[in-house]
Symmetry: C2
Subunit: 167 residues, 2 copies
């Protein structure tokens, strides 16, 4: 029984896409994952990557991944590590693979001088929440996330804000 974790390369893109699809199924939005291999190659494996991936193998079989990037804390004046996706295939759970992925991310966060690690979890995902809290993570209960997408961005970009409105 052996676990190995390594940074992904461009050759791993098909496997990364497979994990992204499996995670979308788990999150009950199987059709929402439309990213292509070209997208991931362009954005993650060029001179200025927008993201990074750790891959976990269990007995040399692809078992899970962590997809992350860096954000920034204006209060700390330090980067933060933001974990976008953490996923272990159902048949490989119970071996501590998710935990070891987080351990590796914590090492990366330290090496990069990050003041924080942060991620989001669906509020119905009780096993994940209990797992995260067991590691010392805490919820930012006061903060609400807002999102603007496609049409909303386009409309806003075309707006010439009146100088009489609020804020």
């Amino acid at each position: 029984m052996s676990l190995s974790i390594r940074p992904a390369t461009a050759a791993d893109i098909p496997q990364i896409l497979e994990f992204i699809h499996q995670l979308a199924i788990y999150e009950k939005e199987p059709d929402a994952a439309v990213a292509t291999a070209e997208d991931l190659l362009r954005d993650g494996f060029g001179a200025h990557p927008l993201f990074y991936v750790l891959l976990a193998n269990w007995n040399e079989q692809p078992a899970g991944f962590a997809f992350y990037f860096f954000n920034y804390s204006t209060w700390l004046g330090k980067p933060g590590l933001y974990l976008e996706d953490l996923f272990v295939m159902p048949e490989y759970r119970g071996h501590g693979i998710g935990k070891q992925l987080l351990v590796e991310l914590a090492k990366i966060a330290q090496a990069k001088g990050c003041g924080r690690m942060q991620w989001q979890v669906l509020d119905w995902n009780t096993p994940a929440i209990e797992f995260y809290e067991s590691l010392g993570a805490f919820p930012l209960t006061e903060w609400e996330t807002y999102r603007l997408v496609g049409e909303g961005i386009a409309s806003l970009a075309q707006l010439n804000a009146s100088h009489q409105t609020e804020m």
Copy 2:
């Protein structure tokens, strides 16, 4: 009465720090903003910036700022624009400065091929929430943000996860 918005340069760092401090006061954590000019210079104005800043001037006086960076959507296969801080000094509110900062950010999001703009708001900040919703933004009510800081990261990094634990 004139509003101008431009990207910040390293020469603007003292002004950016001033806005960060003012925002920390508004968010009721005046001592939490410990970032220094050296931090911002190193992380925002080198060859690979971790963040970007737009500055708004009202009648040529510094009036507000937007502090942002890019994240990534694994489902869309596109970058997203993440707005970390948006702030207008109280004496300059009511002129549409915050809105125009968001308009400029929406233009940047479009130019960079972003599928999303995203930010967080304190759940007691009703004026901000109403303002965001008036622009078409919506809350991600199902998602909870978790954070791990200093000691928690250090402990996790030193852990050799047991391969018998959950996940």
